[in-house]
């Protein structure tokens, strides 16, 4: 299945990404990269709106919990400044058209990406799961539970992870974690999402140009 793109390189598909090069001028699937929904979406099998911390509902409008149609949301997960992963979180609403979902899957999977379906909730899957865990790891470091090296080594050796939580956060940029975590804390108000002190420090230093 072919796709057309409106908008330029983005966090999901940076410059030189093969997904950008594979786009055609006219197709049944329209991909909007950091572009507002507009009349070009009409008549398409699927229109895929790139999301960041915004909800799909902000683009489609919401009424009575019966939302859905051919407009879907998506985000390609990235660990901060790391290159994008192969994961596409495909955001659907209650009445999203099955043909639109199938078309979105075909487009992304055709590009070698893996699609995980989720509903239109803050943080989708990965951010919602990871941010509390990363905050806990940062807090453990502050509390002296173990050194950073041992915290990371424990996760690699004990759980078979390719990297530890803190080395991953530092590599991607702690300020990115702060932004994602703060947005989730605003949405849910639960302590696990409150950005850990080290993330707050990183965000403040960055804001000051440090």
């Amino acid at each position: 299945m072919n796709h057309m793109i409106l908008g330029g390189p983005s966090r999901s598909f940076p410059k030189d990404d093969t997904f950008l090069a594979a786009a055609v001028p006219e197709a049944d699937v329209l991909v909007l990269l950091r572009r507002a929904l507009h009349s070009d979406a009409r008549g398409r099998v699927a229109t895929l709106v790139e999301l960041d911390q915004d909800s799909l509902g902000e683009h489609t409008g919401e009424q009575d919990g019966e939302e859905g149609g051919t407009v879907l949301g998506f985000a390609r997960w990235r660990n901060g400044d790391d290159p994008p992963s192969a994961l596409i979180e495909l955001v659907v609403q209650k009445n999203s058209a099955p043909e639109a979902i199938a078309a979105a899957r075909a487009v992304f999977e055709g590009a070698g990406l893996t699609v995980a379906l989720c509903t239109d909730q803050p943080g989708r899957i990965l951010d919602r799961l990871l941010r509390p865990k990363y905050n806990a790891a940062l807090r453990f470091l502050d509390e002296g539970l173990a050194t950073q090296a041992d915290l990371d080594l424990t996760c690699r050796l004990g759980l078979g992870y390719p990297d530890g939580p803190i080395e991953r956060l530092l590599r991607g940029g702690l300020h990115h974690h702060h932004a994602a975590s703060a947005a989730l804390f605003e949405a849910f108000g639960t302590p696990g999402y409150a950005p850990a002190r080290r993330a707050v420090v990183a965000a403040r230093r960055r804001a000051r140009g440090g």
Binding site: C118, R128, D150, L157
Partner: protein
């Protein structure tokens, strides 16, 4: 360099205890495996012999080396069979009163210099040692499952552990070919403190209708490069075990993430325990053993 020569393992009839005994025997230590159940000891010794025979088949050791390792292992159902050990590692049922009673019983049997290590994953080392008579010679030594494969050991001193005792136990883990990491005597140490709430969060995602289990696991594996998703992992360790872990954590930490989610309790009530019952967050068709 470790001065420890003879190692006892309590609860060696179980999976973890048997694995720890393999680690010690493989590294050249004389090993006394103790369990109250003779049948469990017999069964685990068969598994142990099978493990080493597989190592021979795979060219990881010679038949002579296997025979020498097995000759270093003796079994006993009596605690006093551990009398000459320099180090006793307990891997008995994860219940504070059980472990405390064991340590109190061990203390008069062991030489003065002997160290007792607890393989607890959730309990406090200080509490386990409390009242045993040698609180200064008790350390936390948490192996990962399966112990004979996984190199990591979380090492934690209790409040009363003597620094030289902790160092001696640390040196022994190195002599046994393991990778120790130092942590504090806090609930779950590092691994379970991160993992138990994380697994509960994954269950809450299902409960909140954010995504279905296959999508959550696919997201974790693809996005992070983990070998296994959290829901598949919970199925492997058992949903009932996840409740037990949560119940060990939550009252101590009062961390809402550590509390067992209602969906988890409903699934256990429905008999969906994971792989061992044939169905958990995924359907396995038929019941399966851990690691099968």
């Amino acid at each position: 360099m470790s001065s420890i020569q003879k190692v006892g393992v309590c609860g060696a009839g179980g999976t973890m205890g048997a694995g720890i005994a393999i680690v010690a025997a493989r590294a050249g230590f004389e090993v006394v495996r103790q369990d109250l159940s003779a049948a469990a000891l017999e069964r685990s010794m068969r598994d142990t012999a099978g493990f080493f025979s597989k190592s021979v088949e795979r060219g990881k050791m010679t038949a002579e080396a296997r025979d020498a390792v097995l000759a270093r292992i003796t079994d006993t159902t009596a605690l006093d069979g551990l009398a000459g050990c320099d180090l006793v590692i307990e891997a008995v049922f994860e219940e504070l009163s059980v472990k405390q009673a064991l340590l109190r019983a061990l203390h008069p049997l062991l030489p003065e210099h002997a160290i007792i290590a607890s393989n607890t994953s959730t309990l406090s080392i200080t509490e386990i040692a409390s009242g045993c008579g040698r609180e200064d010679r008790v350390v936390g030594m948490h192996f990962c499952l399966p112990a004979q494969i996984m190199k990591l050991i979380e090492m934690s001193p209790g409040v009363n552990t003597a620094p030289e005792v902790f160092q001696a136990a640390w040196d022994w883990t190195l002599a046994a070919g393991q990778q120790p990491v130092r942590t504090q005597d806090k609930p779950g140490f590092i691994l379970n403190a991160l993992l138990v709430p994380f697994n509960n969060d994954a269950i809450r995602l299902v409960e909140a209708g954010v995504a279905a289990p296959p999508d959550i696991d696919a997201a974790i594996k693809t996005g992070l490069g983990y070998r296994m998703g959290p829901l598949e992992l919970i199925d492997l360790i058992g949903l009932d075990t996840q409740i037990r872990l949560s119940e060990a954590f939550y009252p101590v930490t009062l961390d809402p993430r550590a509390a067992a989610p209602p969906l988890l309790r409903r699934m256990v009530a429905a008999g969906r325990l994971g792989r061992k019952s044939g169905r958990g967050f995924f359907d396995y068709g038929k019941p399966g053993m851990y690691g099968a």
